[in-house]
Symmetry: C2
Subunit: 361 residues, 2 copies
């Protein structure tokens, strides 16, 4: 419905010459539509049963940066979700314990708390549940058990005190659940307001004309079908390759066979249901200019290529160069500011004689 309406109105504005008054009209119309489809990023993403407190966030940040949550003592959450590079490692797939290459691209932690599910296949309900995975995954951080993770942290008196302060009502403050709750609370503060938020909040001059044109393309070409809400994504799961095979299209488009791995079956691996074959969570497009390479397998490095591939395999469309230009400009407005607190490295507590020593094996 909004598609035909906006196409007409935007087309009319262009035909009429695109002066400032008209551009403003255009901005106004797009603003109204955008408000219905998107939402400004909140300062933090609250969760009723894991309230965000300063003590918990500070603790979660320490754990996030602490490599002792890995068997080797080298890999922290921040290794693959590096906040210096917008919460990703900019690798096709991440390196883990003993130089293992993971099967999927590490998604950014920025704005991830807004997603309705976590991981590419949606197998965790929230960032708290997600945080429990990589610590124990043998090809990621590779701790052998929850007990080992808790024992490592509990060997350091400063951590013990901080868990008590962060979870004052908990009889078992330092638990694996609360390690995840603290990291989750920290991640719930990782939202990155950008110029698109200014626009959504009512500053109609926040976006340039080209960025507005990109927003128009984004809405009218149907990208918004999967990439809506405050994070422009993260809210639905969809088959990757609706119109044609992603696998074939990508190989053809980028001209080479980038992957030596078999095609990823997506959510099917979790549910074994036919309808989940090749189903992945639609990722957030906030900071998409910085979270290359793209797709669940990190096979495509260029955002313009990735956009054209999406248009082809999901929408059966070939975008014009002009539309791609406009979309690239719009994506630029989605590059936000990483919270300063999150970028301040915590000085970590010293290990003690009781702290298990790292093992590279």
């Amino acid at each position: 419905m909004y598609r035909s309406l906006l196409s007409l109105s935007f087309g009319a504005a262009l035909l009429a010459g695109g002066g400032h008054a008209l551009a403003s009209d255009n901005a106004q119309r797009l603003h109204q539509t955008a408000q219905a489809l998107f939402a400004p990023l909140p300062a933090q993403v609250d969760k009723a049963d894991n309230p965000i407190t300063d003590a918990k966030v500070a603790l979660g940040k320490m754990l996030y940066y602490d490599p002792r949550l890995s068997e080797s003592g080298v890999i922290s959450c921040n290794t693959c979700h590096n906040l210096a590079t917008y919460g990703v490692d900019n690798l096709p797939t991440s390196l883990g314990h003993r130089w293992s290459a993971g099967p999927r691209n590490s998604p950014t932690v920025l704005n991830a708390a807004l997603h309705t599910t976590q991981f590419w296949d949606g197998r965790a309900v929230d960032v708290e549940e997600q945080a429990k995975g990589p610590v124990l995954n043998p090809i990621e951080m590779a701790l052998p058990s929850e007990e080992v993770a808790v024992a490592r942290i509990a060997s350091m008196p400063e951590y013990v005190a901080r868990f008590k302060a962060a979870f004052p009502e908990s009889t078992d403050a330092l638990s694996y659940d609360n390690i995840a709750n603290a990291i989750g609370a920290f991640e719930r503060t990782l939202t990155t307001p950008d110029r698109f938020d200014e626009f959504l909040k009512g500053d109609l001059d926040a976006l340039t004309e080209t960025e507005l044109a990109g927003l128009d393309v984004f809405i009218n070409q149907g990208c918004v079908g999967c990439h809506a809400g405050p994070a422009l994504g993260g809210q639905i799961e969809a088959r990757f390759g609706v119109v044609e095979s992603y696998w074939e299209a990508t190989r053809e488009y980028i001209g080479i066979n980038q992957s030596t791995m078999p095609m990823d079956v997506g959510k099917f691996a979790v549910t074994q249901k036919q309808e989940d074959l090749y189903v992945f969570k639609a990722p957030s497009l906030r900071n998409i200019t910085r979270t290359y390479p793209y797709f669940h397998d990190g096979s495509v490095w260029d955002l313009r290529d990735a956009t054209q591939i999406m248009a082809r395999v999901q929408l059966g469309n070939d975008l014009s160069e002009q539309d791609l230009d406009a979309l690239m400009a719009f994506y630029g407005a989605l590059e936000g500011e990483i919270p300063a607190d999150a970028l301040t490295l915590p000085v970590l507590p010293a290990s003690t004689a009781q702290t298990e020593r790292p093992s590279m094996r």
Copy 2:
């Protein structure tokens, strides 16, 4: 000379009961001796031909945290010299490209600019020369050449602009030399003032009585022979194992054979001179409580054990439990503050189509 003098005076103070006035006398005498042997940490360590400027330090910090200076795109200077853990990785020896274990323990970057040579074997003259090593070392960051390092950085316009601003008089601003100069300038700001500095500057109450007793032991037992100057070390090279073999003493003391590697010949490997056999740089003891595990091979985790081993193999001495207690207390006063600026992660420039992609091979 100071040895007998101090032993006598300190002993007399203890015999007399150790009241406040006497303790103060003791502090005063130790202060005078300490001033002759040590020096307060400077705010930064200047170098005539690499002046420290804000632009250069900011650039150097970005490079320090940038994993694109490694072939894999994962390993930055901060991986092995993690500022969240006092500039070390707290591993016996570091993990590098393809999970390689290096032959020696990663020394801290904190206060390292004060050392008269760099690396355990002193093969680099300063932090600038040191910074050039790991980037190209095949078992560390593993870039294939200086040209590749420069090309990677030069592919990002923000870096190009920052090199011009940091090296305005250079005709070839973005060079491998200047990558090292920028990182070096950043490292020259990494000094960590502590309570011992307050004492050296004249606050005679800055150290507790036990810490003062530790300082006295440190001086009178001869530790200061190698660990003097502002960094309490980093100024001389010495044979490790003067009185007896470090290798045997360590195995015997810690009760197990911790290393499967052959005994490290030290500086001999660089010079092939007989007098350099088993010669290593005496490391700084600033922040020594945090830079475990100890020695060039990271074979000893406990600071008390390491201290006793040093006393035995270097000085032919067995320290009493009381002396060890006092030394442990004194070491605590050497735990300093990491500069806040250095702990603020820089947001790194985005890679471009020209930026070489990471390779895990």
